[in-house]
């Protein structure tokens, strides 16, 4: 039952599937970018700045989703000592860090022409800032603590504690008055984004997912070899 969690499963997958993933990525990314930059219409209020959303929103989703996986993996690793889960989390963290940074930077670049400010400490922006800091802490602890076992234990705890922030980010726009707009795409209601804008958004999200998977497989391969070497 736990066969798929053997380190080897992903290792062999990494060898065979990277090529195909790259081809899918190229096609999806080109389609997504053409739609996002050329064929999608302008927004009635934001005009062309709506195009920033096609990078901003997928990056934010992925940075949240990756932290969710890191948190759950940390929990499994800490409690059940399935140590390969720490390796998953360690391989994913830099990807999440980069996407959270992209989310914050593109968000600021969107905020200036639309809101009139690059940054404001409202609920959403503050909690997202905390996520970036948590990612920084997580990644830097892995590189600063030389002893693998203690680094693993401490980062596991960071991962679990940081998990609290995820629902805060998600629901900040519903709980508090924020400058940031509420969610347009929810599980319960129809999206409030016109379909001509939803298409590039979802395609860009798909491409970013594939890209994350590719980078994850590469990093996982590195980390699992590293883990073996450290063990000896």
């Amino acid at each position: 039952m736990f066969g798929i969690f053997k380190p080897r499963t992903f290792f062999n997958l990494a060898n065979t599937s990277l090529f195909w993933l790259k081809i899918i990525l190229v096609f999806a990314l080109i389609t997504g970018l053409i739609l996002a930059l050329l064929f999608s219409p302008i927004d009635y209020l934001q005009k062309d700045t709506v195009r920033i959303m096609y990078v901003h929103v997928p990056s934010s989703w992925i940075s949240l989703f990756i932290f969710l996986i890191i948190g759950i993996s940390s929990f499994i690793s800490l409690i059940f000592k399935l140590r390969v889960f720490s390796v998953y989390a360690k391989s994913l963290a830099p990807i999440g860090l980069v996407f959270s940074l992209i989310s914050v930077v593109t968000g600021s670049l969107w905020g200036y022409p639309t809101w009139g400010t690059f940054w404001s400490w409202d609920g959403r922006l503050t909690s997202m800032f905390v996520l970036v800091l948590t990612y920084f802490l997580y990644v830097s602890l892995w590189s600063f603590i030389k002893n693998y076992n203690s680094a693993e234990k401490i980062t596991n705890i960071i991962g679990i504690v940081g998990l609290i922030n995820i629902p805060i980010i998600k629901f900040s726009v519903a709980w508090w008055n924020t400058l940031h707009q509420p969610a347009s795409i929810t599980l319960t209601a129809a999206p409030t984004i016109h379909s001509s804008m939803l298409a590039p958004l979802l395609i860009m999200f798909f491409s970013f997912c594939i890209l994350s998977l590719i980078i994850f497989l590469i990093r996982y391969k590195y980390e699992i070899i590293n883990f073996r070497v450290n063990k000896k």
Binding site: P113, H194, M197
Partner: protein, 144 residues
């Protein structure tokens, strides 16, 4: 089996910590709810017992037809459709500042009906659509 004796032990300790953390979280959350307000709605200003003298933010809809311009001096009404507050502002307006849409203004309350703003932020809503769709929506609304 992954549920070894020590794993069960760790799980117990972890659950205890998790329960404690949840309680602390809700405690902090409730406090935040009361104290950390990014902006006040007009109704919340009305309910305040005294007029705060420090810088606060006020948010709501810019009342349609209320924006008056005099050089770089603007006066408009922020409303939550029940209460209205006059806002005076001197400076440049952000591009997305439109009547009938939301805005957040930063400044001080002169009294409960009059706000002097030093910063204006346009607030975007969750609707994204091309201009044609927005126009036809507007037409339908007017046709009713």
């Amino acid at each position: 089996m992954i549920f070894s004796k020590s794993a069960k032990n760790r799980l117990k300790i972890f659950s205890l910590i998790a329960i404690a953390a949840t309680i602390i979280f809700f405690f902090i959350y409730n406090n935040l709810q009361k104290n950390v307000v990014y902006f006040y709605a007009p109704q919340e200003i009305k309910n305040l017992t005294n007029t705060p003298s420090n810088k606060i933010r006020l948010g709501g809809l810019v009342k349609e037809g209320s924006l008056k311009k005099n050089n770089n001096n603007y006066v408009f009404i922020i409303t939550d459709l029940k209460n209205e507050i006059f806002v005076e502002y001197n400076g440049l307006l952000p591009n997305l500042f439109v009547e009938g849409k939301s805005a957040v203004v930063e400044g001080v309350l002169k009294d409960k009906k009059y706000f002097i703003a030093s910063v204006i932020l346009a607030k975007h809503d969750e609707n994204y659509m091309p201009p044609e769709v927005a126009n036809s929506l507007k037409k339908n609304k007017l046709g009713k």
